[in-house]
């Protein structure tokens, strides 16, 4: 499975809470993400970064507008089609969202279970991915016993394990020391080099100041504006 382009067209997302009050989480966002490029979303808490990542990953549908994957209107597809399409994506949640009573290895293995291949090859893939994030030693440990940084690396391994064509990372360097931060940036760069579309949402100054991003977008109050954009990358 390959993807060359993800387009977000005039996407808005409005949520209504139990009291009937509405909140606009994203407001008429237009942006394109291309394969082989790392895009960085920056902005204050509540700006809509996580929401945009979840929209791109097909976890929610926009209230208006549409998400296109290589011109296919993914956001309009039925739930069943989006379920299958989601196999092309790897999503790192902001709060890791691991299954606490499974081991780290099992959490990383979980996305591979319904996919083709033998169990042995799937286990090998999950071990390799953990090792690439300096987390091989965590394989058999229940994730409930792990530190915040370890949990985040295990969750990142889970997002990466199936070599997704669309990699969506929400605060990937949270709780990481500088060494691990560099390791994670290397992994992100590797995904970029193999042709994945990589979108990273982060507050982390180490990422913002790094050269990993090909383009930087700023979100504030649900509205997207171009930030510091590297040459060759553009917002629409």
């Amino acid at each position: 499975m390959t993807l060359t382009r993800m387009d977000v067209r005039s996407v808005s997302l409005v949520r209504t809470n139990r009291g009937g009050a509405t909140a606009t989480l994203l407001d008429a966002v237009d942006v394109s993400f291309r394969a082989g490029a790392v895009s960085l979303l920056v902005g204050p808490t509540g700006a809509g970064k996580t929401t945009l990542l979840h929209l791109l990953g097909g976890l929610i549908r926009p209230t208006t507008g549409e998400i296109l994957a290589d011109d296919d209107p993914v956001s309009r597809w039925t739930a069943a089609h989006r379920d299958r399409w989601r196999r092309q994506t790897g999503l790192l949640f902001q709060r890791a969202e691991l299954i606490d009573d499974l081991s780290a290895g099992e959490n990383v293995l979980a996305p591979l279970i319904p996919r083709p291949g033998t169990l042995a090859t799937k286990i090998d893939a999950s071990r390799r991915t953990l090792a690439s994030l300096d987390a091989a030693h965590l394989e058999r440990q229940p994730v409930r016993n792990l530190s915040g940084g370890e949990r985040q690396r295990v969750a990142l391994a889970r997002a990466l394990v199936a070599d997704p064509a669309l990699l969506l990372l929400d605060e990937p360097t949270a709780h990481q020391d500088d060494t691990r931060c560099e390791l994670i940036l290397d992994v992100v760069t590797a995904a970029d080099r193999r042709g994945a579309i990589v979108v990273v949402a982060s507050h982390d100054a180490r990422i913002v100041s790094s050269e990993v991003a090909d383009a930087v977008y700023a979100l504030d109050g649900g509205r997207l504006s171009p930030g510091d954009t590297n040459p060759g990358h553009s917002t629409s």
């Binding site: 929610i60 739930a79 069943a80 989601r86 999503l91 279970i113 319904p114 169990l119």
Partner: protein
């Protein structure tokens, strides 16, 4: 789904169950208990119906008893046999000396061994009871530790217990005590040329009903004739009454089943977050349904099989008598029960279906309900 993916999914289902081993084992035990209670009741009724029907089919076509204004009366043997033999369609008529007398442990049926019966018993290897001797069937309620058994019929008589019959010898003698014919007549107050009733065999089963008017008219005294069909009907009617009471036990079983299903359905609230996570990394609704199916079958099938095996043993294992006493009120050990393959299959499939199918379907509901939900809502909803 390819074999390798199926293997992965099965392994994952087992691992998922192992996350909460106590819950999985407890669920299996509940399913097992439900199946045991339900299947024991249904199997017992089915087995007893089959056994009683077989016993009745082995008996005579018709039983003729003399009636008077005061009730049953002894039947004069020569006169009755001649009258029955005069009816076209009757192939055999045998006088029977039998009746119910009082023993220390309760009422028992005694039967005098007539010459025609003696031949059959000797073929079966049973030594005939001599004067003053008694042979007890396996289901006769009598203490065998005492050397003598005192019976009260028309008179008091004491008998030496000569033999205890094995059910394997003859099912029809399960709850009967055999006596020398002269002793039986004396105990039951019959004269030497009198019998309790007359067992009549007709040429064809279909003639049992048709021959009744001619047979009734052939006797020079009033008679009451019981057909095999009436005997079967009486047995079934008794079973329906007792079985109906036994079915009351199914009420708590049904309630337990409902609780189990509610528990499976309410599992949705606890599993929303995980279902959302699975969907977020590419599991389809079909994958989640398969996972639920494998998990519920992994707990349900062993539970059902163990429950069916337990029910089978409780009903059909030789010497196990308490289920009959508890469910059907039997006060004496029943004869060895047996089932026809067709009847047993229907009962077993019914019970397995009644318990396993709702359980499996209820377990799959959370996955099915997720089909239209957005994973983000499931993950966030599960945290609330």
């Amino acid at each position: 789904m390819k074999g390798s993916t199926l293997h992965s999914m099965l392994t994952w289902a087992m691992r998922d169950l192992a996350r909460r081993p106590g819950e999985a084992v407890l669920t299996g035990l509940v399913v097992c208990a439900l199946v045991t209670v339900t299947a024991t009741t249904l199997l017992l009724v089915e087995a007893w119906t089959t056994t009683a029907t077989t016993l009745i089919e082995e008996g005579p076509s018709l039983v003729v008893r003399r009636v008077t204004s005061g009730g049953w009366a002894p039947i004069p043997v020569d006169e009755a046999v001649a009258a029955a033999a005069s009816v076209v369609g009757v192939t055999d008529a045998q006088p029977r000396i039998r009746g119910v007398v009082t023993a220390p442990e309760g009422p028992i049926t005694v039967m005098g061994v007539t010459p025609s019966q003696a031949a059959n018993l000797e073929v079966a290897g049973i030594t005939l009871p001599g004067p003053g001797e008694i042979i007890l069937g396996a289901g006769v309620p009598a203490s065998t530790t005492e050397p003598l058994l005192e019976l009260l019929g028309s008179t008091h008589m004491k008998f030496r217990i000569a033999t205890l019959l094995d059910d394997a010898v003859s099912l029809t003698l399960h709850d009967v005590a055999l006596l020398n014919v002269a002793d039986a007549r004396a105990l039951l107050g019959l004269a030497p040329n009198e019998a309790s009733d007359l067992a009549v065999t007709v040429f064809h089963e279909a003639e049992e009903e048709a021959i009744l008017p001619d047979l009734t008219a052939a006797f020079p005294f009033p008679v009451r004739i019981t057909t095999r069909g009436e005997a079967a009907g009486a047995a079934v009617a008794g079973l329906s009454r007792d079985g109906g009471l036994a079915m009351l036990l199914l009420v708590p079983a049904t309630l337990a089943m409902i609780l189990l299903l509610i528990s499976a359905l309410r599992g949705w609230n606890g599993s929303r977050r995980e279902i959302g996570l699975y969907k977020s990394f590419g599991w389809t609704t079909g994958d989640l349904v398969r996972l639920s199916l494998f998990k519920s079958l992994a707990t349900g099938i062993p539970g059902v099989l163990t429950g069916l095996a337990a029910a089978w043993g409780l009903v059909l294992w030789p010497g196990t008598t308490w289920p009959g006493a508890l469910l059907l009120g039997w006060q004496t050990p029943p004869p060895p029960l047996f089932l026809t393959p067709g009847g047993a299959t229907v009962v077993l499939l019914t019970v397995a279906g009644l318990v396993l199918i709702p359980w499996v379907l209820a377990s799959m509901v959370p996955a099915v309900k997720s089909a239209l939900a957005d994973p983000d809502d499931l993950v966030r909803g599960g945290e609330q």
